[in-house]
Subunit: 392 residues, 4 copies
């Protein structure tokens, strides 16, 4: 296959050459006297990306999904009751993880494509005057449906209910690409992974924990070893880790943080908004619908596109992959066959998106879905022209 593959799944994302180069390094003794300089430079910057000054960040040699478990076992005990919203495959799996670990989960099911409903969460908490509910579990950006929920509104609803439940937020496809305000939203455990907005290979689970969350870890009764943040905290205090860290990934994370902060987190979010809007304009030009029900909650990192009744999105994806060197995301769980997903998260620019949209158009046509070639591209082009740096 000549040329560069177009990787447009919503993770893993394209790893910038700068990050790949940074990871291409000799290993070091992770117990040397010189080693702590690296983690000590990383943690404060990592917290910035979570939008936190007050919290504490943790880095696990694991995956984003592993952080579901890390957040649960460090804050809860078997048998604890938690409240969760299921609005897509990843919130479903977060709930499944909690259940496997012995929690009783009150599930608020909404249609896949809808956002987390702050009002319903608030009502459920208000209906728990005994404060049996220990935590609220939500996914900030549902990667399966392309829906971003309003965390500020959720926090407001929780506050209005005067309920002390912890707030556990899966930010895997949000942190590092969308604005994330850990402190402002009073999140207790925020979950991220290296392979999306952080523009790295999978292999790091990232966690940000509030003071309240940290305090819970002492009382939490879930058995745990690898995921125990108390061990992490103890070793991190001296600039070390409780076990051999994934050093290549730490090198990469250092570089990825540099890139994010050089661009500026607000600019990163604005770029994702700009690029995502182009994709949405293309989808509209094709006459297709997003899985996201509400324009106010469309995701700037992933668009789940519904194929017309009778069509199978798997065929579009297969054609794109085999004929056009383009990877698209599949519909997950109950959306299988019904949507394909265009990831637009991480290290991307306009021409990469336009190339991908060109490929989607061809694959749609090949699959018998009548879109006009060039139509989506033109819609996105018009938008991108209007956003480009000024002519001079």
């Amino acid at each position: 296959m000549s040329g560069r593959h177009f990787l447009f799944v919503p993770g893993p994302t394209n790893v910038p050459d700068r990050v790949l180069r940074a990871m291409h390094r000799a290993q070091e003794d992770h117990r040397s006297s010189a080693f702590p300089a690296l983690p000590r430079s990383i943690f404060p910057d990592l917290k910035k990306v979570f939008g936190s000054i007050a919290g504490q960040a943790f880095i696990f040699p694991a995956t984003g999904s592993a952080m579901w478990e890390a957040s649960l076992v460090n804050s809860l005990s078997p048998g604890d009751r938690v409240l969760a919203c299921r609005n897509g495959q990843f919130s479903h799996l977060f709930i499944d993880c909690a259940q496997r670990l012995g929690m009783r989960v009150d599930v608020i099911d909404v249609e896949w494509g809808e956002a987390v409903p702050p009002t319903q969460i608030g009502e459920a908490l208000a209906a728990d005057p005994a404060h049996e509910i220990k935590a609220v579990l939500v996914v900030h950006n549902e990667t399966a449906t392309g829906v971003t929920s309003d965390m500020a509104a959720l926090r407001a609803a929780m506050d209005a209910a005067r309920h002390p439940a912890l707030l556990l937020v899966d930010g895997v496809s949000a942190v590092g690409s969308l604005a994330f305000r850990f402190d402002e939203w009073k999140v207790d455990f925020a979950i991220a992974g290296s392979q999306k907005g952080f523009m790295m290979p999978a292999g790091l689970g990232l966690l940000c924990v509030s003071a309240k969350g940290l305090a819970m870890s002492a009382a939490a009764q879930c058995p745990r070893a690898f995921f125990d943040i108390r061990d992490q905290a103890k070793h991190n205090a001296d600039g070390y880790f409780p076990y051999t860290p994934a050093l290549a990934h730490l090198f990469g994370l250092r570089e990825a943080l540099d890139m994010l902060l050089e661009e500026g987190l607000d600019n990163v979010a604005a770029r994702h908004r700009r690029l995502g809007e182009g994709v949405r304009l293309a989808v509209a030009a094709w006459g297709l619908q997003l899985c996201a029900k509400d324009a106010s909650s469309v995701s700037n990192t992933v668009s789940a596109v519904v194929v017309p009744e009778g069509a199978d999105s798997r065929r579009v994806i297969d054609i794109a992959f085999r004929r056009y060197n383009l990877s698209l995301g599949a519909g997950l769980g109950r959306l299988a066959g019904k949507v394909f997903r265009i990831g637009h998260v991480g290290d991307l620019n306009e021409l990469m998106i336009l190339g991908a949209l060109s490929g989607v158009e061809m694959a749609l046509r090949d699959a018998g879905i009548p879109v006009m070639l060039g139509s989506g591209v033109a819609a996105a082009q018009q938008w991108y022209r209007s956003c480009a740096p000024p002519l001079r």
Copy 2:
């Protein structure tokens, strides 16, 4: 710092350029139709390195130490009684992990520097006619003391006791460098990590599980999510993983397996034996003692060297690092200050070892320990000359 740092801790080890290059690649869709070819090529070769045909291998985006937990939660239930031998810091931590997860551990403590005593294990099992003991936990190669235990003898003792306990073996600093015979020794869970004999950065936990071990996972009552091998087995069957795999590490593992199999596993073990013997001859020439009590159980991947009474090994290590660009391993736990460790595991050759031994000699002298400069080097040289390819 000019030139190449001499990394002689017993892990992380030197990552060969071939492996670093293999990891320096664009990411891919881990759910594409083309993806399964990679894991399907890896698993059979990975099993070869464990010495297994009958077992099943698993790859976690985690660390070697995480595999302690993976082996325990997939085979046991809280409250289960297990038997373990503590002969160094890593067996200590394995035991600690089991205790954290709720197991009751019968500990056989031996002096640090001694091997796992098959007779005592056999006796303990024989004293358990009710078969309450569900598993035996041992470390094949104690990285803290430089001691390799005799797994064949251990298995013989277990068989003689006619006890059905599972055998869980930590092979982190053994698999991929020392001969490991999973099937022959009837190991049930063997534990490894990417950053030692596999010559990769840390970030992969590797597990090999027997049919008996797999069967136990259904009954095991430990709550688990990330570490559940049933999810792995289900997805692996189709060439996929239950969550985003650490793809860069899979690329690296593919290359590392190629290197190990190209060299030949027997040759790899022979090289470690040859290189390790040179180090031991140097230690003897310096007039120093190994921590290992018995010549028959000296490790070919790491030598723990005892400093003379009154000296502090931390000073030797500090001098080596700051003055000579050489990383040595520290004494761990109760050995802190008493030993320094020379790792000789992974991608090494004679001149690298001789350079490191030169550095150790200088650091010892600088620390006031009276060794003759060049003496250890000369002893190792003489040995390496005798092992070198034939003159012609």
Copy 3:
């Protein structure tokens, strides 16, 4: 700048990750007994790319343009008369090089955008019964105008004139991407560089020389040292070079040759034809003209596009670079301001081209040139769909 820059100049071209990785290696002793294996594997494969079995290939640590000089000084003497066709900037520079080295050049000037005229060359040779003309100098693919000349027809014309002049062909933007038939066309010196079809960084000058050409080197009176192919031939015979070779580039060349031969040279040429046709269809859809006058000589590696009267192509190029992360080639020499060039040579695929065409469309519109957004993309898409692997 986020994402990947779109490099669409006609050289340097995109270096595939495989080649970059192959170059990322430790250096070696170029005089060791093991070294000759590398050049010995390269030379025969390199000749295949030139389309030669009978010739001899040379590799200089230099550039493609340096091979003008290498071909001239090894075959001619100061004062020698040569015949050359000037149909673009690179043929102009080839002529200039010959003049600087003391040759008398009979120049056949044709309009820039036209191919080398075999008839005129044949007539000029026929008008030289004394065979004063020692060599014919032409550029196979004029990178400045996007014109590929017919070398078979040229050879036929030379043969018809029964003239013994050497044939020196600049194939810098042709070899490795267009079909090149050194033996069949009876070329005497063919000139190439590493940074176009060979998909490498600049830094290697590549030469293929006929037996007749080699024989001329003994009589050639041009003073020379670095470029003397007799030194090269002498050292190459043993697998060595007369001076330190550009080793990283040799590693890269080995990999690039593997890639070319794995794809198949015919397939490489077909891919360039397919991709180039898409670009030309886009240009036509925009209502713009190519610099190439004749459809039969359009280049499959570069398209020079004429901007409308009154527009300045430099503005298009500047906008593409600053606003859209896209590098286009400038008009050179007398074409400055009048054309921009889209390189479509080397490691490319359909979506990369479509992304670039999207960028060109936006830049044209921004520069006030009235093209319909998406129109060129759609024309290329339609063509690429028809060429894609079969649906199934």
Copy 4:
């Protein structure tokens, strides 16, 4: 072959990982508006390494040896008389290059192993009152013999003779590792390559030219094209090059310059002196002689070691390569079989040297040359201990 090869030829040298990473980058348009920033940052720093503020530096996509030709053709005319000293293979080749290009060379032959004799040069110039001699050609550091000549003394002798001849200095194995004082020594053309002190792969020829040298280029009658510094100067003035530069090497050069200047040029020279002295002490401990006749002119970048009468140095080199993964330099020209050379130039440290010396000791013994194992290592260790950073 496991582990890292010990590359101890005097070039190519070890390329630091930082430089390899810097070269592992996407190519760019060398004619873009952004491109000039790179060369503009490089040239001033490159001049610093030559020890010049007043001169002008040039970068050719070629080799160090190509710069012999570049220096000659840009300053002289065919038939010009030049004076040269031959004290080793590289000065021999410099002379050969001048002769091939048509110069008449007055050769001062001294024994190989001796330095350039300032007095004889001065006398020869004094004996040329008509100033027929247009240039003096010398090699600063004779890589073949391990001899560094005194350029300040040479300049003093030339000044004393009040002779206007240009001074052309081959600094290939000196610049970037030994102190080089272009301005102070009033050098007119200084010649370097990328693959020694600059710690890069071969592929760049580097030149520093005085104002007087630049002025000569207009009058110089040697035919030239590729090597014409007037083209370079014209394009460099705007931050460009006359033909496609070896971009990967420019990226590498930028990083290598950063490394040299971060370490500090004085520290670089001091490190080479320190490392070289260790090698010499080892040679003395072995009871062997250097090729260099005079202790005051021993080279800090390469040691040519004479094997005892009756021994063949080629056998030592072959054994080192095949049995110990160590590359040593061969005796060149008339020194073939009589010396082997240990390169100690570029990115090296003490333990790397000690590893290499260990290998030399083993190879010498294997070849039947009676040295005591460990003896050279111990001598070097003692010295390196005395030079190491202070204990604390």
